[in-house]
Amino acid sequence: MPSVAESRLSVRADFPIFERRFGGAPLIYLDSGATAQKPRAVIEALAAHLAEHNANIHRGVYPLAQEADAAFESARDRIAAFTGAEPKATIFTKNATEAINLVARSYGAARLGPGDAVLITQMEHHANLVPWQQICRERGAELRYLEVDEHGELSLAQLDAELARGDVRIVAFAHVSNVLGTINPVAEIAARARAARAVTLVDGAQAVPQMPVDVQALGADFYAWTGHKAVGPTGIGVLHGRRELLDAMDPFLTGGDMIASVSQLETTWNELPFKFEAGTPPIAEAVGLAAAVDYLSGLGMERVREHERELTELMLARLAEVPGVRAVGPPAGRERGALVSFTVEGMHPHDIAELLGREGVCVRAGHHCAQPLMRCLGVAATARASLGVYNEESDVDALVAALAKGQKVFGI
Protein backbone atom coordinates (compact mmCIF):
# COMPACT_ATOMS: atom_id res chain seq x y z
CA MET A 1 0.00 0.00 0.00
CA PRO A 2 1.38 3.40 -0.89
CA SER A 3 1.24 5.93 1.90
CA VAL A 4 -1.58 8.46 1.98
CA ALA A 5 0.75 11.23 0.92
CA GLU A 6 1.84 9.25 -2.14
CA SER A 7 -1.59 8.20 -3.35
CA ARG A 8 -3.69 11.29 -2.64
CA LEU A 9 -4.05 13.70 -5.52
CA SER A 10 -4.28 17.42 -5.04
CA VAL A 11 -5.43 18.79 -8.39
CA ARG A 12 -8.36 21.04 -7.58
CA ALA A 13 -6.43 24.07 -8.84
CA ASP A 14 -6.48 22.52 -12.33
CA PHE A 15 -10.27 22.94 -12.46
CA PRO A 16 -11.40 26.57 -12.87
CA ILE A 17 -14.98 25.91 -11.73
CA PHE A 18 -13.76 25.51 -8.15
CA GLU A 19 -12.96 29.22 -8.12
CA ARG A 20 -16.72 29.86 -8.05
CA ARG A 21 -18.54 30.66 -4.83
CA PHE A 22 -22.17 29.91 -4.04
CA GLY A 23 -23.44 32.44 -1.54
CA GLY A 24 -19.84 32.78 -0.40
CA ALA A 25 -19.45 29.01 0.00
CA PRO A 26 -17.08 26.92 -2.10
CA LEU A 27 -18.36 24.31 -4.52
CA ILE A 28 -18.42 20.84 -2.98
CA TYR A 29 -18.96 18.79 -6.10
CA LEU A 30 -20.06 15.21 -5.42
CA ASP A 31 -21.87 14.53 -8.67
CA SER A 32 -19.08 13.38 -10.96
CA GLY A 33 -21.02 10.20 -11.68
CA ALA A 34 -23.45 12.43 -13.60
CA THR A 35 -20.78 14.56 -15.25
CA ALA A 36 -17.24 15.48 -14.29
CA GLN A 37 -15.84 18.99 -14.02
CA LYS A 38 -13.31 20.01 -16.66
CA PRO A 39 -9.63 20.79 -16.19
CA ARG A 40 -8.17 23.92 -17.72
CA ALA A 41 -6.22 21.76 -20.19
CA VAL A 42 -9.49 20.52 -21.74
CA ILE A 43 -11.12 23.93 -21.83
CA GLU A 44 -8.05 25.42 -23.48
CA ALA A 45 -7.66 22.60 -26.00
CA LEU A 46 -11.29 23.01 -27.07
CA ALA A 47 -10.96 26.77 -27.34
CA ALA A 48 -7.64 26.56 -29.19
CA HIS A 49 -9.03 24.12 -31.72
CA LEU A 50 -12.04 26.33 -32.43
CA ALA A 51 -9.95 29.49 -32.50
CA GLU A 52 -7.07 28.18 -34.60
CA HIS A 53 -7.72 24.88 -36.36
CA ASN A 54 -11.42 24.73 -37.15
CA ALA A 55 -12.42 23.22 -40.49
CA ASN A 56 -14.48 20.22 -41.51
CA ILE A 57 -12.62 16.95 -41.84
CA HIS A 58 -12.12 14.41 -44.63
CA ARG A 59 -13.08 16.76 -47.44
CA GLY A 60 -10.87 19.81 -47.51
CA VAL A 61 -7.55 19.91 -49.33
CA TYR A 62 -6.47 23.32 -48.06
CA PRO A 63 -3.95 23.52 -45.21
CA LEU A 64 -6.48 24.44 -42.51
CA ALA A 65 -8.58 21.37 -43.34
CA GLN A 66 -5.47 19.23 -43.14
CA GLU A 67 -4.81 20.61 -39.66
CA ALA A 68 -8.36 19.70 -38.62
CA ASP A 69 -7.95 16.20 -40.08
CA ALA A 70 -4.68 15.71 -38.24
CA ALA A 71 -6.16 17.00 -34.97
CA PHE A 72 -9.14 14.67 -35.25
CA GLU A 73 -7.16 11.53 -36.06
CA SER A 74 -4.52 12.32 -33.47
CA ALA A 75 -7.37 12.62 -30.97
CA ARG A 76 -8.67 9.20 -31.98
CA ASP A 77 -5.20 7.64 -31.61
CA ARG A 78 -4.70 9.09 -28.11
CA ILE A 79 -8.20 8.15 -26.95
CA ALA A 80 -7.79 4.59 -28.27
CA ALA A 81 -4.38 4.28 -26.61
CA PHE A 82 -5.86 5.43 -23.29
CA THR A 83 -8.19 2.43 -23.20
CA GLY A 84 -5.86 -0.04 -24.91
CA ALA A 85 -7.95 -0.15 -28.07
CA GLU A 86 -7.22 -0.14 -31.77
CA PRO A 87 -7.90 3.28 -33.41
CA LYS A 88 -9.67 1.76 -36.42
CA ALA A 89 -12.04 -0.04 -34.09
CA THR A 90 -12.65 3.10 -32.01
CA ILE A 91 -15.83 4.84 -33.10
CA PHE A 92 -16.96 8.26 -32.00
CA THR A 93 -20.62 8.60 -31.09
CA LYS A 94 -22.68 11.26 -29.35
CA ASN A 95 -22.48 9.53 -25.96
CA ALA A 96 -22.43 6.08 -24.38
CA THR A 97 -26.15 5.71 -24.98
CA GLU A 98 -25.68 6.12 -28.72
CA ALA A 99 -22.76 3.68 -28.67
CA ILE A 100 -24.98 1.04 -27.03
CA ASN A 101 -27.83 1.76 -29.44
CA LEU A 102 -25.38 1.32 -32.31
CA VAL A 103 -24.55 -2.21 -31.12
CA ALA A 104 -28.16 -3.05 -30.30
CA ARG A 105 -29.26 -2.01 -33.80
CA SER A 106 -26.35 -2.88 -36.05
CA TYR A 107 -25.33 -6.09 -34.31
CA GLY A 108 -28.38 -7.10 -32.29
CA ALA A 109 -31.26 -6.42 -34.62
CA ALA A 110 -29.59 -8.23 -37.51
CA ARG A 111 -28.75 -11.35 -35.52
CA LEU A 112 -31.51 -11.83 -32.97
CA GLY A 113 -34.71 -13.75 -33.55
CA PRO A 114 -37.21 -15.99 -31.79
CA GLY A 115 -35.44 -18.52 -29.59
CA ASP A 116 -32.53 -16.17 -28.91
CA ALA A 117 -31.91 -14.36 -25.64
CA VAL A 118 -30.14 -11.21 -24.51
CA LEU A 119 -28.79 -11.32 -20.97
CA ILE A 120 -28.42 -8.07 -19.04
CA THR A 121 -28.32 -7.37 -15.31
CA GLN A 122 -30.61 -5.84 -12.72
CA MET A 123 -28.09 -3.07 -12.10
CA GLU A 124 -28.16 -1.62 -15.62
CA HIS A 125 -28.61 2.06 -16.34
CA HIS A 126 -31.59 2.61 -18.61
CA ALA A 127 -29.05 3.27 -21.40
CA ASN A 128 -28.05 -0.41 -21.33
CA LEU A 129 -31.56 -1.70 -20.72
CA VAL A 130 -34.13 0.11 -22.86
CA PRO A 131 -32.28 -0.50 -26.18
CA TRP A 132 -32.25 -4.25 -25.45
CA GLN A 133 -35.90 -4.20 -24.42
CA GLN A 134 -36.75 -2.61 -27.74
CA ILE A 135 -34.61 -4.89 -29.88
CA CYS A 136 -35.86 -8.01 -28.12
CA ARG A 137 -39.47 -6.93 -28.56
CA GLU A 138 -38.95 -6.20 -32.25
CA ARG A 139 -37.06 -9.41 -32.98
CA GLY A 140 -39.11 -11.74 -30.79
CA ALA A 141 -36.06 -12.51 -28.64
CA GLU A 142 -36.12 -12.95 -24.87
CA LEU A 143 -34.58 -10.45 -22.45
CA ARG A 144 -33.29 -12.03 -19.23
CA TYR A 145 -31.63 -10.55 -16.16
CA LEU A 146 -28.75 -11.51 -13.92
CA GLU A 147 -29.76 -10.77 -10.35
CA VAL A 148 -28.02 -8.47 -7.91
CA ASP A 149 -27.30 -10.10 -4.55
CA GLU A 150 -27.37 -8.56 -1.06
CA HIS A 151 -23.86 -7.15 -1.60
CA GLY A 152 -24.93 -5.50 -4.82
CA GLU A 153 -22.95 -8.03 -6.83
CA LEU A 154 -23.65 -10.45 -9.67
CA SER A 155 -23.37 -14.22 -9.38
CA LEU A 156 -21.07 -15.98 -11.84
CA ALA A 157 -22.93 -19.20 -11.02
CA GLN A 158 -26.13 -17.63 -12.31
CA LEU A 159 -24.25 -16.42 -15.37
CA ASP A 160 -23.06 -19.96 -16.05
CA ALA A 161 -26.57 -21.32 -15.62
CA GLU A 162 -27.96 -18.75 -18.04
CA LEU A 163 -25.25 -19.40 -20.61
CA ALA A 164 -25.75 -23.15 -20.27
CA ARG A 165 -29.26 -22.75 -21.65
CA GLY A 166 -27.56 -22.24 -24.99
CA ASP A 167 -29.75 -19.42 -26.30
CA VAL A 168 -27.85 -16.35 -25.05
CA ARG A 169 -26.43 -14.39 -27.98
CA ILE A 170 -25.52 -11.13 -26.22
CA VAL A 171 -24.46 -10.36 -22.64
CA ALA A 172 -24.62 -6.63 -21.84
CA PHE A 173 -23.58 -5.22 -18.48
CA ALA A 174 -22.05 -2.26 -16.69
CA HIS A 175 -18.37 -2.28 -15.79
CA VAL A 176 -19.14 -0.13 -12.74
CA SER A 177 -22.72 0.36 -11.51
CA ASN A 178 -23.78 4.01 -11.41
CA VAL A 179 -25.99 3.33 -8.37
CA LEU A 180 -24.29 0.59 -6.37
CA GLY A 181 -20.69 1.32 -7.24
CA THR A 182 -20.20 -2.40 -7.85
CA ILE A 183 -17.23 -3.25 -10.05
CA ASN A 184 -18.19 -6.20 -12.19
CA PRO A 185 -15.60 -8.85 -13.18
CA VAL A 186 -15.55 -7.93 -16.87
CA ALA A 187 -12.78 -10.29 -17.96
CA GLU A 188 -14.39 -13.31 -16.29
CA ILE A 189 -17.84 -12.55 -17.67
CA ALA A 190 -16.45 -11.91 -21.17
CA ALA A 191 -14.45 -15.17 -21.14
CA ARG A 192 -17.45 -17.22 -20.04
CA ALA A 193 -19.72 -15.53 -22.57
CA ARG A 194 -17.21 -16.17 -25.35
CA ALA A 195 -16.98 -19.83 -24.40
CA ALA A 196 -20.76 -19.95 -24.80
CA ARG A 197 -20.47 -18.14 -28.16
CA ALA A 198 -22.24 -15.02 -26.89
CA VAL A 199 -20.85 -11.54 -27.53
CA THR A 200 -20.40 -9.05 -24.71
CA LEU A 201 -21.12 -5.35 -24.51
CA VAL A 202 -19.77 -3.44 -21.55
CA ASP A 203 -21.14 -0.07 -20.45
CA GLY A 204 -17.95 1.58 -19.24
CA ALA A 205 -19.37 5.07 -18.69
CA GLN A 206 -18.56 5.00 -14.95
CA ALA A 207 -15.40 2.90 -15.18
CA VAL A 208 -13.18 4.74 -17.66
CA PRO A 209 -13.05 7.97 -15.61
CA GLN A 210 -11.91 6.23 -12.43
CA MET A 211 -9.72 3.21 -13.14
CA PRO A 212 -7.23 1.85 -15.64
CA VAL A 213 -9.20 0.22 -18.47
CA ASP A 214 -7.57 -1.92 -21.14
CA VAL A 215 -10.33 -3.11 -23.42
CA GLN A 216 -8.21 -5.72 -25.18
CA ALA A 217 -7.09 -7.23 -21.90
CA LEU A 218 -10.68 -7.25 -20.64
CA GLY A 219 -11.69 -9.18 -23.74
CA ALA A 220 -15.16 -7.73 -24.19
CA ASP A 221 -16.45 -7.58 -27.76
CA PHE A 222 -17.88 -4.08 -27.41
CA TYR A 223 -17.00 -1.43 -24.84
CA ALA A 224 -18.92 1.87 -24.66
CA TRP A 225 -18.08 4.99 -22.68
CA THR A 226 -18.65 8.71 -22.71
CA GLY A 227 -16.38 11.75 -22.75
CA HIS A 228 -18.07 14.09 -20.32
CA LYS A 229 -17.78 11.80 -17.30
CA ALA A 230 -14.06 11.42 -18.05
CA VAL A 231 -13.36 15.17 -17.60
CA GLY A 232 -13.94 15.70 -21.33
CA PRO A 233 -16.63 17.64 -23.18
CA THR A 234 -20.26 16.60 -23.65
CA GLY A 235 -21.37 15.49 -27.12
CA ILE A 236 -18.84 12.71 -27.61
CA GLY A 237 -18.99 9.05 -26.71
CA VAL A 238 -16.74 6.17 -27.68
CA LEU A 239 -17.42 2.65 -28.86
CA HIS A 240 -14.57 0.16 -29.03
CA GLY A 241 -15.45 -2.98 -30.92
CA ARG A 242 -13.86 -6.20 -32.06
CA ARG A 243 -12.81 -5.44 -35.59
CA GLU A 244 -14.19 -8.53 -37.27
CA LEU A 245 -17.59 -7.91 -35.69
CA LEU A 246 -17.63 -4.26 -36.73
CA ASP A 247 -16.57 -5.23 -40.26
CA ALA A 248 -19.46 -7.63 -40.59
CA MET A 249 -22.05 -5.18 -39.25
CA ASP A 250 -24.21 -2.84 -41.29
CA PRO A 251 -24.02 0.87 -40.45
CA PHE A 252 -26.14 2.36 -37.67
CA LEU A 253 -26.78 5.84 -39.06
CA THR A 254 -26.34 6.59 -42.74
CA GLY A 255 -25.48 9.73 -44.64
CA GLY A 256 -22.34 11.64 -45.46
CA ASP A 257 -18.81 10.54 -44.65
CA MET A 258 -19.70 6.91 -43.98
CA ILE A 259 -19.87 5.92 -47.64
CA ALA A 260 -17.36 4.62 -50.16
CA SER A 261 -19.54 5.40 -53.16
CA VAL A 262 -23.16 6.24 -53.74
CA SER A 263 -25.21 5.63 -56.85
CA GLN A 264 -28.93 6.30 -57.27
CA LEU A 265 -29.90 2.92 -55.90
CA GLU A 266 -26.90 1.57 -54.02
CA THR A 267 -24.23 2.61 -51.60
CA THR A 268 -21.08 0.89 -50.45
CA TRP A 269 -19.75 1.59 -47.00
CA ASN A 270 -16.59 3.37 -46.02
CA GLU A 271 -13.92 1.49 -44.05
CA LEU A 272 -13.73 1.42 -40.24
CA PRO A 273 -14.21 3.48 -38.21
CA PHE A 274 -15.86 5.89 -40.67
CA LYS A 275 -18.59 3.41 -41.61
CA PHE A 276 -20.14 4.15 -38.23
CA GLU A 277 -19.59 7.91 -38.21
CA ALA A 278 -22.28 9.38 -40.42
CA GLY A 279 -22.26 13.12 -40.88
CA THR A 280 -19.81 15.60 -39.41
CA PRO A 281 -18.50 13.99 -36.23
CA PRO A 282 -17.82 15.79 -32.93
CA ILE A 283 -14.45 17.19 -34.05
CA ALA A 284 -13.74 19.81 -31.39
CA GLU A 285 -15.16 17.42 -28.78
CA ALA A 286 -12.72 14.73 -29.90
CA VAL A 287 -9.86 17.19 -29.50
CA GLY A 288 -11.20 18.09 -26.05
CA LEU A 289 -11.57 14.45 -25.05
CA ALA A 290 -8.03 13.71 -26.19
CA ALA A 291 -6.85 16.53 -23.91
CA ALA A 292 -8.92 14.95 -21.13
CA VAL A 293 -7.35 11.51 -21.49
CA ASP A 294 -3.90 13.11 -21.74
CA TYR A 295 -4.68 14.90 -18.48
CA LEU A 296 -5.84 11.70 -16.78
CA SER A 297 -2.83 9.78 -18.14
CA GLY A 298 -0.61 12.48 -16.72
CA LEU A 299 -2.10 11.85 -13.27
CA GLY A 300 -1.88 8.11 -13.83
CA MET A 301 -5.05 6.05 -13.71
CA GLU A 302 -3.65 3.75 -11.00
CA ARG A 303 -3.20 6.82 -8.84
CA VAL A 304 -6.65 8.16 -9.73
CA ARG A 305 -8.15 4.84 -8.68
CA GLU A 306 -6.17 4.75 -5.44
CA HIS A 307 -7.11 8.34 -4.59
CA GLU A 308 -10.80 7.74 -5.20
CA ARG A 309 -10.76 4.34 -3.49
CA GLU A 310 -9.40 5.87 -0.29
CA LEU A 311 -11.92 8.71 -0.37
CA THR A 312 -14.78 6.30 -1.06
CA GLU A 313 -13.80 4.16 1.93
CA LEU A 314 -13.64 7.26 4.07
CA MET A 315 -17.02 8.46 2.82
CA LEU A 316 -18.60 5.07 3.48
CA ALA A 317 -17.18 5.02 7.01
CA ARG A 318 -18.21 8.60 7.79
CA LEU A 319 -21.74 8.12 6.43
CA ALA A 320 -22.13 4.98 8.53
CA GLU A 321 -21.61 7.15 11.61
CA VAL A 322 -24.62 9.34 10.76
CA PRO A 323 -27.77 7.96 12.46
CA GLY A 324 -30.44 6.89 9.98
CA VAL A 325 -28.13 6.68 6.98
CA ARG A 326 -28.16 3.43 5.03
CA ALA A 327 -25.72 2.94 2.16
CA VAL A 328 -26.57 0.55 -0.67
CA GLY A 329 -24.12 -1.51 -2.68
CA PRO A 330 -21.03 -3.45 -1.65
CA PRO A 331 -20.37 -3.13 2.10
CA ALA A 332 -17.18 -1.62 3.50
CA GLY A 333 -14.13 -3.71 2.78
CA ARG A 334 -15.33 -4.95 -0.61
CA GLU A 335 -14.19 -3.47 -3.90
CA ARG A 336 -16.37 -0.63 -5.06
CA GLY A 337 -16.26 2.30 -7.41
CA ALA A 338 -16.05 5.93 -6.35
CA LEU A 339 -19.62 6.57 -5.29
CA VAL A 340 -21.97 5.90 -2.42
CA SER A 341 -25.74 5.83 -2.82
CA PHE A 342 -27.66 6.15 0.40
CA THR A 343 -30.98 6.79 2.04
CA VAL A 344 -31.72 8.73 5.22
CA GLU A 345 -34.57 7.60 7.44
CA GLY A 346 -37.41 10.12 7.47
CA MET A 347 -36.03 12.16 4.59
CA HIS A 348 -36.73 11.76 0.92
CA PRO A 349 -33.60 11.84 -1.29
CA HIS A 350 -34.90 14.95 -3.08
CA ASP A 351 -35.12 16.79 0.19
CA ILE A 352 -31.64 15.59 1.13
CA ALA A 353 -30.25 16.91 -2.16
CA GLU A 354 -32.08 20.22 -1.72
CA LEU A 355 -30.77 20.76 1.80
CA LEU A 356 -27.22 19.69 0.88
CA GLY A 357 -27.36 22.02 -2.12
CA ARG A 358 -27.90 24.97 0.17
CA GLU A 359 -24.55 24.19 1.79
CA GLY A 360 -22.89 24.08 -1.61
CA VAL A 361 -22.80 20.28 -1.55
CA CYS A 362 -23.89 18.86 -4.92
CA VAL A 363 -25.31 15.33 -4.85
CA ARG A 364 -27.82 13.63 -7.09
CA ALA A 365 -31.17 12.29 -5.92
CA GLY A 366 -33.61 10.05 -7.67
CA HIS A 367 -33.63 6.71 -9.43
CA HIS A 368 -30.38 7.43 -11.32
CA CYS A 369 -31.90 6.06 -14.53
CA ALA A 370 -32.07 2.62 -12.94
CA GLN A 371 -35.72 2.09 -11.99
CA PRO A 372 -35.67 -1.73 -12.13
CA LEU A 373 -32.69 -1.73 -9.75
CA MET A 374 -34.49 0.64 -7.37
CA ARG A 375 -37.35 -1.85 -7.22
CA CYS A 376 -34.89 -4.67 -6.41
CA LEU A 377 -33.39 -2.58 -3.63
CA GLY A 378 -36.86 -1.82 -2.31
CA VAL A 379 -36.38 1.93 -2.42
CA ALA A 380 -38.01 4.56 -4.63
CA ALA A 381 -34.90 6.65 -4.87
CA THR A 382 -31.53 7.28 -3.25
CA ALA A 383 -29.17 10.17 -2.81
CA ARG A 384 -25.79 9.60 -4.44
CA ALA A 385 -22.43 11.16 -3.71
CA SER A 386 -19.91 10.38 -6.46
CA LEU A 387 -16.26 11.38 -6.62
CA GLY A 388 -13.84 12.81 -9.13
CA VAL A 389 -10.09 13.33 -9.21
CA TYR A 390 -10.53 16.80 -7.65
CA ASN A 391 -12.34 15.68 -4.51
CA GLU A 392 -10.58 15.85 -1.18
CA GLU A 393 -11.18 14.70 2.36
CA SER A 394 -12.71 18.09 3.20
CA ASP A 395 -15.53 17.35 0.73
CA VAL A 396 -16.48 14.28 2.74
CA ASP A 397 -16.44 16.40 5.90
CA ALA A 398 -18.70 18.95 4.22
CA LEU A 399 -21.11 16.21 3.09
CA VAL A 400 -21.44 14.76 6.57
CA ALA A 401 -21.81 18.20 8.20
CA ALA A 402 -24.47 19.28 5.70
CA LEU A 403 -26.32 16.02 6.22
CA ALA A 404 -26.45 16.55 9.98
CA LYS A 405 -27.69 20.10 9.41
CA GLY A 406 -30.38 18.85 7.03
CA GLN A 407 -31.56 16.27 9.53
CA LYS A 408 -31.96 19.07 12.05
CA VAL A 409 -34.29 20.95 9.66
CA PHE A 410 -36.41 17.82 9.49
CA GLY A 411 -36.40 17.48 13.26
CA ILE A 412 -34.43 14.24 13.11
Binding site: H348, P349, D351, G366, A381, V409, G411
Partner: protein, 126 residues
Protein backbone atom coordinates in the same frame (compact mmCIF):
# COMPACT_ATOMS: atom_id res chain seq x y z
CA UNK B 1 -37.22 29.11 10.31
CA UNK B 2 -36.58 27.36 7.01
CA UNK B 3 -38.18 29.07 3.99
CA UNK B 4 -39.09 25.89 2.19
CA UNK B 5 -39.35 23.32 4.94
CA UNK B 6 -41.70 25.31 7.15
CA UNK B 7 -43.15 23.64 10.20
CA UNK B 8 -46.54 23.05 8.61
CA UNK B 9 -44.92 21.53 5.47
CA UNK B 10 -42.97 19.07 7.61
CA UNK B 11 -46.04 18.43 9.76
CA UNK B 12 -48.05 17.47 6.65
CA UNK B 13 -45.11 15.37 5.38
CA UNK B 14 -44.77 13.43 8.59
CA UNK B 15 -48.49 13.12 9.29
CA UNK B 16 -50.27 13.48 5.94
CA UNK B 17 -54.05 14.03 6.01
CA UNK B 18 -56.31 11.77 3.96
CA UNK B 19 -53.51 9.32 3.26
CA UNK B 20 -54.32 5.75 2.29
CA UNK B 21 -56.76 3.90 0.11
CA UNK B 22 -60.51 4.42 -0.21
CA UNK B 23 -62.74 1.42 -0.92
CA UNK B 24 -65.05 1.63 -2.68
CA UNK B 25 -64.16 4.62 -4.80
CA UNK B 26 -65.58 6.12 -7.99
CA UNK B 27 -62.50 7.75 -9.51
CA UNK B 28 -58.82 6.95 -9.37
CA UNK B 29 -55.52 7.81 -11.03
CA UNK B 30 -51.86 6.98 -10.51
CA UNK B 31 -48.92 9.02 -11.73
CA UNK B 32 -45.16 8.95 -11.56
CA UNK B 33 -42.79 11.84 -11.31
CA UNK B 34 -40.36 10.94 -14.09
CA UNK B 35 -37.67 13.00 -12.39
CA UNK B 36 -37.41 10.84 -9.29
CA UNK B 37 -39.67 7.86 -9.82
CA UNK B 38 -41.98 8.99 -7.06
CA UNK B 39 -45.47 7.63 -7.22
CA UNK B 40 -48.72 9.27 -6.25
CA UNK B 41 -52.19 7.77 -6.54
CA UNK B 42 -55.62 9.07 -5.61
CA UNK B 43 -58.98 7.50 -4.82
CA UNK B 44 -62.08 9.71 -4.93
CA UNK B 45 -65.64 8.99 -3.87
CA UNK B 46 -68.19 11.21 -5.61
CA UNK B 47 -71.50 12.39 -4.22
CA UNK B 48 -73.59 13.99 -6.96
CA UNK B 49 -71.54 16.82 -8.39
CA UNK B 50 -68.81 17.00 -5.76
CA UNK B 51 -65.97 15.11 -4.10
CA UNK B 52 -67.29 13.42 -1.01
CA UNK B 53 -64.13 11.67 0.12
CA UNK B 54 -60.53 11.65 -1.09
CA UNK B 55 -57.44 9.60 -0.19
CA UNK B 56 -54.01 9.65 -1.72
CA UNK B 57 -51.28 7.03 -1.55
CA UNK B 58 -47.74 6.49 -2.75
CA UNK B 59 -44.40 7.94 -1.81
CA UNK B 60 -42.59 11.17 -2.45
CA UNK B 61 -40.57 14.01 -1.07
CA UNK B 62 -41.71 16.44 1.61
CA UNK B 63 -42.94 18.91 -1.01
CA UNK B 64 -45.04 16.44 -2.98
CA UNK B 65 -46.47 14.73 0.12
CA UNK B 66 -47.30 18.03 1.82
CA UNK B 67 -48.91 19.32 -1.38
CA UNK B 68 -51.11 16.23 -1.57
CA UNK B 69 -52.02 16.45 2.11
CA UNK B 70 -52.82 20.18 2.08
CA UNK B 71 -54.75 19.98 -1.19
CA UNK B 72 -56.81 17.00 0.00
CA UNK B 73 -58.36 19.15 2.71
CA UNK B 74 -59.42 21.73 0.13
CA UNK B 75 -60.58 19.17 -2.41
CA UNK B 76 -62.98 17.44 -0.06
CA UNK B 77 -66.42 18.87 -0.86
CA UNK B 78 -65.24 20.64 -4.01
CA UNK B 79 -67.44 20.48 -7.10
CA UNK B 80 -66.00 18.28 -9.85
CA UNK B 81 -66.26 21.05 -12.41
CA UNK B 82 -64.21 23.31 -10.14
CA UNK B 83 -61.49 20.66 -9.90
CA UNK B 84 -61.09 20.82 -13.68
CA UNK B 85 -60.42 24.54 -13.41
CA UNK B 86 -57.66 24.32 -10.83
CA UNK B 87 -54.29 25.49 -12.11
CA UNK B 88 -50.67 25.46 -10.99
CA UNK B 89 -50.98 28.82 -9.22
CA UNK B 90 -53.77 27.44 -7.04
CA UNK B 91 -51.52 24.64 -5.81
CA UNK B 92 -48.41 26.80 -5.36
CA UNK B 93 -50.35 29.47 -3.43
CA UNK B 94 -51.97 26.82 -1.29
CA UNK B 95 -48.54 25.41 -0.43
CA UNK B 96 -47.40 28.89 0.56
CA UNK B 97 -43.69 28.31 0.00
CA UNK B 98 -41.27 29.47 -2.70
CA UNK B 99 -41.07 26.51 -5.08
CA UNK B 100 -38.01 26.52 -7.34
CA UNK B 101 -38.20 25.41 -10.97
CA UNK B 102 -36.56 22.10 -10.12
CA UNK B 103 -39.13 21.28 -7.43
CA UNK B 104 -42.19 22.50 -9.34
CA UNK B 105 -43.14 19.02 -10.49
CA UNK B 106 -42.95 17.80 -6.89
CA UNK B 107 -45.48 20.46 -5.93
CA UNK B 108 -47.78 19.83 -8.90
CA UNK B 109 -47.78 16.02 -9.09
CA UNK B 110 -50.77 15.78 -6.77
CA UNK B 111 -52.90 18.21 -8.79
CA UNK B 112 -51.94 16.38 -11.99
CA UNK B 113 -53.19 13.12 -10.50
CA UNK B 114 -56.42 14.58 -9.10
CA UNK B 115 -57.27 16.36 -12.34
CA UNK B 116 -56.48 13.19 -14.24
CA UNK B 117 -58.89 11.22 -12.06
CA UNK B 118 -61.67 13.80 -12.38
CA UNK B 119 -61.34 15.07 -15.96
CA UNK B 120 -59.21 12.45 -17.71
CA UNK B 121 -56.73 15.18 -18.64
CA UNK B 122 -53.42 14.03 -17.17
CA UNK B 123 -51.22 16.82 -18.49
CA UNK B 124 -49.07 18.85 -16.10
CA UNK B 125 -51.05 21.76 -14.61
CA UNK B 126 -49.95 25.14 -15.95
Amino acid sequence: MDDLYRDYILEHYKRPRNFGELEPHDLEALEHNPLCGDELGVHIRVDGDHIEEIRFHGHGCAISQAAASIASEELKGMKLEEVGELDADWMIELLGIPVSATRRKCALLNLKVVRGAVTGDNGWPT
